[in-house]
């Protein structure tokens, strides 16, 4: 992608800018800022960055059981005998596992789908790790599948599709509750969220 630095910038710098510019959330301005920072940084720092990128690509694999990113297969969570094998939490992305683990509330296992159904982008069920999930349910003693896809249309569509496939197997299917985020304001809540928060209210 030509971003206009080629004529005045030395070729290797322009190439790095170009590579940074391909990353999500980084535009041409941020890309050149990062490149020029590294140009002036100590050689060791640039080496460390380059090595970290290469190591990440070479040393990580997907866990063959839950499809989370891991160094050793199976991953630390799947290997941990302390986790409850009766509960399986289905998430869209590896980062969602990190978010759920931070809560410290969940002791079961995970399954990472690597995306959500989005027909307009051409992402259909067969493009996700759904067949792998169904295979796990056949062999593992799972009693409850907790669907933790994002609370947006793609996530809800994925949840509805999974429920349709899993419920006939006689496994309990639950969905993360939807309610009001911490520190928010009732006045700004949309009707769908507020409606579901009302339906899912708790005794105090």
């Amino acid at each position: 992608m030509a971003i206009g630095y080629e004529h005045v910038t030395a070729e290797p710098v322009a190439r790095l800018i170009d590579e940074f510019n391909r990353l999500p959330g980084i535009g041409p301005k941020s890309a050149s800022r990062l490149a020029f920072y590294l140009l002036r940084a100590k050689p060791e720092q640039a080496q460390r960055l380059a090595a970290a990128i290469i190591e990440m690509k070479e040393k990580t694999v997907l866990c063959s059981r839950c499809f989370n990113i891991t160094v050793e297969d199976p991953c630390v969570i799947c290997r941990n005998p302390g986790r409850q094998v009766q509960q399986l939490c289905v998430v869209e992305e590896p980062l969602d596992v990190v978010a759920l683990e931070r809560t410290g509330e969940y002791k079961g296992l995970y399954h990472v789908l690597h995306g959500a159904i989005s027909p307009v982008e051409g992402i259909n069920p067969e493009d996700l790790k759904i067949r792998e999930l169904m295979d796990r349910l056949k062999v593992e003693p799972v009693e409850e599948v907790i669907i933790s896809t994002n609370p947006n249309l793609e996530g809800d569509a994925t949840a509805a599709y999974l429920a349709r496939e899993i419920i006939p197997l006689g496994v309990r299917v639950t969905r993360l509750a939807r309610g009001l985020p911490m520190g928010s304001d009732l006045e700004y809540a949309d009707e769908v969220t507020l409606g579901r928060a009302l339906q899912g209210r708790r005794d105090m």
């Binding site: 999500p24 959330g25 159904i117 027909p119 307009v120 982008e121 051409g122 259909n124 069920p125 947006n152 249309l153 809800d156 569509a157 509805a160 599709y161 349709r164 985020p181 520190g183 928010s184 304001d185 700004y188 809540a189 949309d190 009707e191 769908v192 969220t193 409606g195």
Partner: protein, 253 residues
Amino acid sequence: MRDRLYSTPALIIRRSDVGEADRLLTIYTPQLGKLTVAARGVRKTSSKLAGHLELFVHTQLQLARGRSLDVVTESRVSDHFATLRSDLDRISVAYYVAELLDKMTPEQSDNSALFRLTRDVLAAIDRESTTARRDVVLRFFELHLLSLSGYRPHFFHCAVCERELDQSADRFSPAAGGVVCANCVARVTGTLPLSLSAFKLLRYLLRGGIDDALALNVSPELAQEAGFILRVALKQVLERELKSVEFLNLLRG
């Protein structure tokens, strides 16, 4: 100088994530047609706009003119279509409607009839409880979308010789853009068979409004035949397959 802020009704027909927490929205408006606008910070859980900018909502938006893209500052939802988004079949139909609208329309070309059509169709998909009735709605949408985009299929006059058609007409020509009469069939290639009931259904749908369409009792086979003809006609115009069709077909098995 133009006002910095302006307000418009809008249907949100596509979204894509950009940057840390922003989204680009493709919206369809009555006066400005299809637009791409930016919604800042809406992927954060603390965003007060997020729930009001979901896919397929019908909303009143306030926008601020930006250098390249206009930015959403407020959203007051007129209709969430809550039933639609809790049902897999309806979701797949809505995705198809939104993708069709997106692919059939250029940016910033106003067409308020198309806005009303899509709004009414989404409302009907939300409201109608059987797939058979929603399929009729879908046929109505496909037909009128073609019509309002300037590709009205010929169902009353022969697509070749323009003579008025009678009930003997039984071939549809995607290339000619409509039904061809018995005299002209030999002059066009690649025509498709069209049953008399499908022919009558399409004529009726083209002439009436959405309420007339919903007053009909259409068998699934007939809706399917009409759907096949319309998909071929749409493909002729779009020159490609829609991505959301695959999911729709998958669910319908």
